[in-house]
């Protein structure tokens, strides 16, 4: 009301102000409701693409929905969830997801930390090397997987060529159920170690100088100061990086789909692959929906851990 009175009395007496009054009022109305108006597009998209589908996926998971029997869709309660956990292939997929993600993240962490320590040194050309080093994570996974398909090719791939020329026997990298998963993990390590390095490097660069200077004054060696100063100070950053990377690796799909499609003999079938095959190859949408919900719960569990750890530095 005060606002209206103020703007109604055209202070400077310009006639234009009189004419512009409705527009001015509209602008003020927009300003007062900006937090709502500015978020209409985003919230509309999120409701259409997340909220509604989320309700649908939970509902579908409680039915025996099969793509080609859509008319007879019946409510079956928690049957899908029960049979998911009786499905040996699904249980195997859970363990293979842990194997895949765990293996990838641990290797990325060890290698990525060492590289982060290197790039934390000040030297000319550091930025240049770092820029090139970061390229793999920006590359298209399906395209990179094609290159690795050739590198791993058992007959004409360079890896086996080198093994043989060293006098070793060649390996069926992607064709042997024992080797397929490690081979896929190597691709993850190649593509995503730079991301791990980036996260850890950001942590290293945010550490205060004083503890390191104090350690130096106390005569600590570089190794001692790493163990007793760097590691404890980095703890938060390390946990965050590990959990973040784990969540992304658990969801990995592109490279597995391109290189093995879950094979050979299901040896690289992760949860994501299993759900994809259930839904879009076998058309068991009800079952796939239930597994999708379980998959999400699995990720939430890990993310909950992240939020708990991050709570101290949580701004939003």
């Amino acid at each position: 009301m005060v606002d209206q009175a103020y703007h109604g009395t055209s202070v400077r007496g310009f006639p234009r102000a009189e004419r512009a009054r409705p527009a001015r009022a509209a602008l003020e109305w927009v300003d007062r409701n900006l937090a709502v108006i500015f978020n209409i597009p985003t919230v509309a998209v999120l409701i259409a693409l997340v909220a509604i589908p989320a309700v649908m996926v939970v509902y579908s998971s409680l039915t025996d929905w099969h793509l080609y029997l859509a008319d007879q869709r019946q409510f079956v309660g928690l049957d899908n969830y029960v049979s998911a956990f009786r499905d040996e292939r699904w249980i195997t997929a859970i363990f293979q997801t842990i194997y895949f993600a765990g293996g990838s993240v641990i290797l990325q962490f060890v290698i990525g930390f060492a590289i982060a320590l290197l790039f934390n040194q000040k030297f000319k050309g550091n930025r240049f090397y770092r820029g090139i080093f970061m390229l793999p994570m920006l590359a298209m996974s399906t395209a990179i997987s094609l290159v690795w398909l050739i590198l791993y090719n058992s007959s004409f791939g360079p890896l086996n060529y080198w093994l043989v020329s060293l006098g070793l026997s060649s390996v069926e990298w992607l064709g042997d159920p024992r080797w397929a998963m490690p081979s896929l993990i190597v691709v993850q390590v190649w593509q995503w170690t730079p991301f791990m390095t980036l996260l850890l490097l950001a942590g290293l660069q945010s550490l205060p100088d004083e503890p390191f200077e104090a350690a130096k004054l106390d005569g600590a060696s570089a190794f001692q100061s790493f163990i007793h100063v760097t590691l404890p100070l980095m703890r938060g950053h390390i946990v965050v990086a590990l959990v973040l990377r784990s969540i992304i690796e658990i969801k990995e799909f592109d490279s597995i789909m391109t290189m093995t499609e879950g094979g050979p003999n299901g040896a690289t079938e992760t949860m994501n692959m299993n759900i994809y095959l259930n839904a879009f190859s076998y058309s068991q949408l009800g079952m796939a929906a239930a597994k999708g919900v379980i998959f999400f719960a699995f990720i939430l569990l890990i993310q909950a851990l992240l939020l708990k750890i991050r709570a101290r530095r949580w701004s939003y």
Binding site: V45, L285, L300, Y316
Partner: protein
């Protein structure tokens, strides 16, 4: 011995980037290798040929699919950044904690879980196997990521500048348009490039929602993967064609990249 230290660091850095670079060098160099030489992986020196590029361009639908990708990722990036900027601005200025958490929450949902219902909705709505449908789906990539990074950039803008504009009688929308947007332009460009790259690289949405009618670059490249059809040279030429332009784009904006990636990475 400062010189010795520098030397060691350079050697270490080169040793580190060598294996990471090797895959790209192998990809690009061998995409020029004549077909008959692929049977001998030991051959690195040869008369380069463009035959694989000619084959890929003339005999596959890769170029058409790259065009699809440019359209899908282009629209998804522009719309995503526009929505993301407005949301990020309100989150930063009005401290909309719940909205920020909701957006973080959407980033945790695996795409595969959303794809099952989305596939049904899109089929009912006639959006399946269409470019507008894919643009819509890719907003799930660009909006949450865009919001998350842009919050940090907008928070970095001193509030005083905006307050000054408000004191001078500008409305909030005007202050947003004339003060906030110009000031975070580098951030917007960096975020847009990252959004574009993530959308460009995304495989799962187009695989499920695009079908055989609207294939994007990753789906197109994926089709080269069947070991029976297509030569290795064609696989590498296709991989090079979709990888290198993105790198050039990113190098072009390298300065802003490092900061952007770190901020986005923390919450990815």
């Amino acid at each position: 011995m400062p010189h010795f230290r520098t030397l060691v660091l350079h050697a270490a850095a080169i040793a580190v980037i060598a294996p990471f670079t090797f895959v790209f060098v192998f990809m690009v160099w061998n995409s020029f290798k004549p077909d008959f030489l692929f049977f001998d992986p030991g051959v690195w020196m040869f008369q380069p040929t463009l035959m694989h590029y000619r084959d890929v361009i003339q005999q596959s639908d890769l170029v058409e699919n790259i065009t699809n990708s440019l359209v899908v990722s282009g629209f998804a990036t522009v719309i995503g950044i526009a929505c993301g900027l407005m949301t990020a601005y309100t989150i930063a200025r009005y401290k909309l904690r719940k909205l920020a958490l909701a957006i973080l929450f959407t980033r945790m949902i695996p795409y595969i879980t959303m794809l099952i219902p989305l596939w049904l909705v899109f089929r009912e709505a006639g959006l399946i196997n269409t470019i507008p449908g894919l643009v819509l789906a890719h907003l799930l990539i660009t909006i949450p990521f865009g919001v998350w990074i842009l919050i940090a950039y907008i928070e970095d803008i001193p509030k005083d500048l905006e307050d000054a504009a408000l004191m001078d009688g500008a409305s909030r929308v005007q202050a947003f348009w004339h003060v906030v947007l110009p000031l975070c332009r580098p951030g917007i460009i960096a975020t847009a490039i990252l959004c574009f790259v993530f959308s460009w690289n995304n495989f799962q949405f187009a695989l499920v929602l695009g079908g055989m009618d609207v294939k994007t670059a990753p789906v197109s490249v994926f089709q080269f993967a069947s070991p029976d059809t297509g030569s290795m040279g064609a696989m590498l030429a296709a991989a090079t064609l979709v990888t290198i332009p993105g790198f050039l784009l990113v190098m072009f904006a390298q300065k802003q990249m490092a900061a952007g990636l770190t901020i986005g990475g923390i919450s990815k």
